[in-house]
Amino acid sequence: MKKFAAKSARPIPVIILADTSGSMSVDGKVDAMNQAIRGMIASFAEESRLNAEIHLSVITFGGNAETHLALTPAHQITHFEDFYATGGTPMGEALTIAKELIEDKEKISSRAYRPVIVLISDGHPTDDWEGQFSAFCSAERAQKATRMAMAIGSDADEVMMNDFINDLEAPLFRASNAQDIIKFFRAVSMSVTSRSRSTTPNQPVAITYDEIPEDDELDLDF
C-alpha cells in the first residue's frame, strides 16, 4: 500500500508580486525588498519539513512583467538574484502571470494548499490592470488564493490594493520606509509558517503588524 503514497509533502505555494518600477530605486526601497525576500526564503526553508512544504515564486513588474523565481520548494532555493528597479508599473501583466501559474495544474496540483499571493507596490499601475485583475478574480482556481498587499509610500494606489486583498486577517500594510518593508515580509513569513505548522493550513492566520519586532530589537524582558 505504501508504494502508492506520494513521496513529497503537500505544498503551500507563495507568490510574491514585486513592483520593480523606476520609483522603487529611491530611498533604498528595492534594496530593502531584496534583503527582505532573502530573509523570507531562509525562514521558509527552515519550515519546509513540517506539516506542509512552502514553495515560493517571485514575479516582478518593472518595465515588463516576468517570473524572477519560478515556483520552487523554499528549501531547494540556493540562489536568489537581486532585482533592479526600472521602467513603468505593468501590474496587470504580473497578475496574468500569477493567474496562469495558479491555473497550471502541473505546477500547482490539487494536493496543494490554497496559494498565498503577496502584492507589493509603491505606485499606480501603468497598464490595463482592471481587465487582468478581473480575469484573475474570476479564474476558477486563482480566485481562491489568499491575497495580501503592502503599499509603499504615499503614491501607492491604495484603492486598488484594498480591492486586491481578500484576507480579512491581513489588512493592507502601509510602509513608509525600508525598515517597514522588511517588517512586512517578516509578518508574512510568520503568517505562512504558522499555516504550515497548522493542522488546517488552508485557514488564514491573523497578522498583527505591530507585534512584529524590529530587526535589531533585542528580546529583553524589562
Binding site: M1, F4, R111, Y113, N202
Partner: protein, 170 residues
C-alpha cells in the same frame, strides 16, 4: 426511520435524506457545523450489486464488472482540504452516487479518507494490488498489515486522518 429498515432499492435521494436525519438526531446537543463529517458509503447485496455514495473528500476506488473506477475524485480546480460534508452540505447535488457490480473473484472496492487518497499516486492499480495482497492473508493478519502500512506512511508531513475499508470477493 432507521437506515437499516430501508429497502435496497430506495432512491438515492431518500437514502441520503434518511442518513442525514439519523446523523443529525445522533448529534444531540452538538451543533452540526461543529461535527462536519465527510461520508463514504458502500451498500452491497450478496448478488454483487453494490451502491456507492460519497459526500466530500476522500475516495471510493473500485474494480467491478465494468472495469476500474473512482467514484468522485477531488476536482482539479480545488486545493487541499477544500471539502464539504454532513453538517455543511444541504444539497443533494453535493453527493455522488453510483451502482456497481462485484460478481467475480478479485473484484472489490476501497473506501478511504483524504489522509490516504490525497497522497495516492497510480490510483487505478491501487485496488487490484491491495486485493491481491490481502486475499492471501487471514482477517487478523490483514488488519495488522494495513495498520502497519498506514503507521509507516511515507509521504513527508502527511496528515492525520487515515481510515480505509476494503470489500472484495475472494
Amino acid at each position: 426511520m432507521a437506515v437499516k429498515a430501508l429497502p435496497f432499492d430506495v432512491p438515492d435521494r431518500e437514502l441520503i435524506h434518511c442518513i442525514y436525519k439519523n446523523w443529525l438526531a445522533l448529534l444531540g446537543s452538538i451543533a452540526a457545523n461543529d461535527a462536519v463529517a465527510t461520508s463514504l458509503i458502500a451498500w452491497g447485496k450478496n448478488t454483487g450489486e453494490t451502491r456507492l455514495l460519497q459526500l466530500g473528500d476522500g475516495a471510493v476506488l473500485y474494480q467491478a464488472n465494468d472495469g476500474r473506477g473512482l467514484l468522485s475524485g477531488r476536482s482539479e480546480n480545488t486545493f487541499g482540504n477544500e471539502t464539504t460534508g454532513l453538517g455543511v452540505s444541504r444539497k443533494y447535488s453535493d453527493w455522488v452516487c453510483r451502482t456497481i457490480w462485484l460478481t467475480k473473484p478479485k473484484q472489490g472496492l476501497a473506501l478511504m479518507t483524504d489522509g490516504i487518497s490525497d497522497d495516492l499516486e497510480q490510483m487505478d492499480t491501487f485496488v487490484p494490488e491491495v486485493i491481491m495482497k490481502m486475499r492471501h492473508m487471514g482477517r487478523r493478519y490483514g488488519k495488522q498489515w494495513i495498520t502497519n502500512e498506514l503507521e509507516s506512511w511515507p509521504t513527508p508531513s502527511h496528515s492525520d486522518d487515515k481510515t480505509i475499508a476494503l470489500i472484495y470477493r475472494m
